[in-house]
Amino acid sequence: MYRILKKRELAENVDEFVVEASEIAKKAEPGQFVIVRISKKGERIPLTIAEKDCDAGTITLMVQRVGKTTFHLSCLEEGHVITDVVGPLGKPTHLEKWGHVVCIGGGLGLAPVHHIAQGVKDAENRITTIMGFRREDLVFWEEKMKLISDRLIVTTNDGSYGMKGLVTDALQELIDSGEEINMVITAGPVPMMKAVAELTKKYRIPTVASLNPVMVDGTGMCGACRVTVNGEVKFACVDGPEFDAHKVEFDELINRLNMFKTLEGEALKEFQKKHCGCGKE
């Protein structure tokens, strides 16, 4: 039984769930994800294991509402049961003692970045975290990230909190300051990851991106999650989700994320027609 033990809203359209899943918690490593299905007619969607607690037998999921399933998930409350949770899936983050690692996350990307940063810290690295948001009221998990990071930089597009600008502006500043960066790990919206990769490529800083293509089974069976890395077709759910960011064809990934957009829009509209009473707009 995958019971929701805790739930809170982190920011506009972002929820955090602590879910009972003891066998998954036991195995979960940084970089891995689960696939959930929340009703008998539901879709299977991948969500990163943002945190785990082996003793409590729980995993923490951070969910950004973008479509039908994520909106529906936000209607579930503490005590409710998620129909299906399977995992941990994907390859764990490759971790070593690099030296100075910069972890960059935006929006839903903070889920992987949080768990990965923990692993990076355990591997005895110095961590600078850059978290990007659009506005001040969308900022979340600052305290959590502060605990793991040696230095934390928050950026907002409009300057309403922290540094004004994009995560890449903060990264550029860091590079310009002459500080040595041995590794960059990034997760978040694909255009953001692409921009980070373009920047670090210029300076030849090794960079890993955690990709988020559409997935169905998450076990290498369907091929929905294929991405092109270094000219080769890879299945992100089993070969990834993390890849050398300098070799990923981000434009193809952006395009593939649009494959079901029209249909997904329809589904969300239908859902909101029926569920306008559940609290969230």
Binding site: V86, M221, V227, N255, N258
Partner: protein, 464 residues
């Protein structure tokens, strides 16, 4: 006994008209009525040598069960079949009978062979309707067996071992049990109800099915070996082969597994009532000539908005590996066959598939093995306008189950290597069968392996 006239043609199995059936996902074949079944059963001449039995991979006592049908003893007929094949309603529907039992039927030499498959399905369905006999269970042995995968291989092995008194747990990666029978083969060919019925039998036998459980991830094989006295791997051949031509990752290009999983397992044909979408546009091309290709083509034909469906296959219809019946059904349903045609590249516009460039093929003279190779005809390239393409060019064993495993013998196309008599792998106490040892194969082959393995596991458990 004096010679009696026997009818040369099979009694046709009533089926729904193509025009009606392509509007839904309900079963195409209606199945024999008791009267028709008796009539067909009487075509069997009860050969003393019964070559048909030799043609069946699990040696179903064919003449015996058919005689029982001819006598109107339908339930007894089903139980007779179940002595060797516990899934008659499934095998009767999906076995490639024309290459197995029916291929060697003596009556087939005079005309059409006895319709063994349809009779088998009839008997199985009849028994299910009147109530299946509660399976008998031996006293508990206290031994524990883990089965990986809940397809026909896993189901069969679990049932056999549970009947012998062992405690069996099945681990299944997906949220529903049944394997390809549920996520692959569409309902119009094999209704889910029938598979659920078989799964109920497992429940009655006390088999525990753990869903959402990926061996290699949630637990690794080594842990199962520690917790259980033996392990049977029936994880199938879920890894799709991709066609590495230009444009493979354009929007609109699917592997058959994704397409079928979306529609069959996730219910995309009922979108938006069900959440999972499937995008097809108006014109769909299916690449391949096997059962999977036919299933995809016929599935696509039933989806809203689809107007034209093509099968693109590089050899001729005669070489198609799909069952003859499925090819025939696909043609009846209006699927357009582009045989002796090979895709060269996918053409796109703004990231979306728009067409497929193909080249015409011809078959070479037969080589030493008698096989005629397809050769491209130079300069014959042409374009078919399509909105979606589905690759059904085969699949191999999914390596995920072998993750973190040492000492397991793996063959050159990723299959687990076993001893053919016992299905034993190179790891002590670990057995494997079905598609994971053959690559793509058949339901009855998976069952045959599973029964062999169950017997070997039973023996192994008492040696240890």
């Amino acid at each position: 006994m004096g010679k009696k006239e026997i009818r040369k043609e099979k009694i046709p199995v009533p089926e729904r008209s193509a025009r009606e059936r392509i509007k839904d996902f309900k079963e195409v074949k209606l199945g024999y009525t008791p009267e028709l079944a008796i009539e067909e059963a009487k075509r069997c001449i009860q050969c003393p040598t019964a070559p048909c039995v030799e043609g069946c991979p699990v040696r179903v006592p064919i003449p015996q069960f058919i005689e029982l049908i001819a006598e109107g003893k339908f339930v007894d007929a089903a139980r007779k079949i179940k002595e060797e094949n516990v899934l008659p309603s499934i095998c009767g529907r999906v076995c490639p009978q024309e290459d197995q039992c029916e291929k060697v039927c003596v009556v087939g030499k005079l005309g059409q062979p006895v319709n063994i498959g349809a009779l088998e399905a009839f008997a199985g369905d009849y028994e299910a309707k009147v109530g299946v006999e509660k399976p008998k269970k031996a006293e508990s042995t206290g031994k524990k067996v883990a089965v990986i995968g809940s397809g026909p291989g896993g189901i069969t092995c679990a049932a056999d071992l549970a009947k012998l008194g062992h405690s069996v747990t099945i681990f299944e990666a997906l949220h529903e049990p049944g394997g390809v029978l549920i996520y692959g083969i569409p309902e119009f060919r094999l209704p889910n109800e029938i598979v659920y019925g078989e799964l109920d039998v497992l429940k009655e036998l006390g088999v525990e099915v753990k869903l959402n459980y990926v061996i290699g991830k949630t637990k690794v094989l080594e842990e199962l070996r520690n917790e259980f006295d033996a392990v049977f791997i029936a994880s199938g051949a879920g890894l799709p082969y991709m066609l590495n031509i230009e444009g493979l990752n354009l929007n609109g290009v699917y592997a058959a597994n994704e397409f079928l999983t979306r529609v069959n397992l996730m219910g995309a044909y009922r979108f938006p009532d069900y959440d999972t979408p499937v995008f097809t546009g108006k014109r769909v091309a299916v690449i391949g000539g096997g059962n999977t290709a036919m299933d995809v083509a016929r599935t696509a034909k039933r989806l809203n908005g689809v107007e034209e469906v093509y099968i693109i296959y590089r050899r001729s219809e005669k070489e198609m590996p799909a069952r003859v019946e499925e090819i025939h059904h696909a043609q009846e349903e209006g699927v357009v066959f582009q045989t002796l045609t090979n895709p060269v590249k996918f053409l796109g516009e703004n990231g979306w598939l728009k067409g497929i460039e193909c080249v015409r093929m011809e078959l070479s003279e037969p080589d030493e093995s008698g096989r005629r190779r397809p050769i491209p005809i130079e300069g014959s390239n042409f374009v078919i306008d399509i909105d979606a393409a589905v690759l059904a060019i085969g699949q191999g064993p999914n390596p995920i189950v072998m993750e973190g495993v040492d000492g397991l013998d793996i063959g050159k196309w990723g299959q687990i290597v076993v001893d053919s008599e016992t299905c034993k792998t190179s790891l002590e106490g670990v057995f494997a069968g079905g598609d994971v040892i053959h690559g793509g194969s058949t339901v009855i082959q998976a069952m045959g392996d599973a029964r062999k393995a169950a017997a070997a596991i039973h023996e192994y458990l008492f040696e240890n």
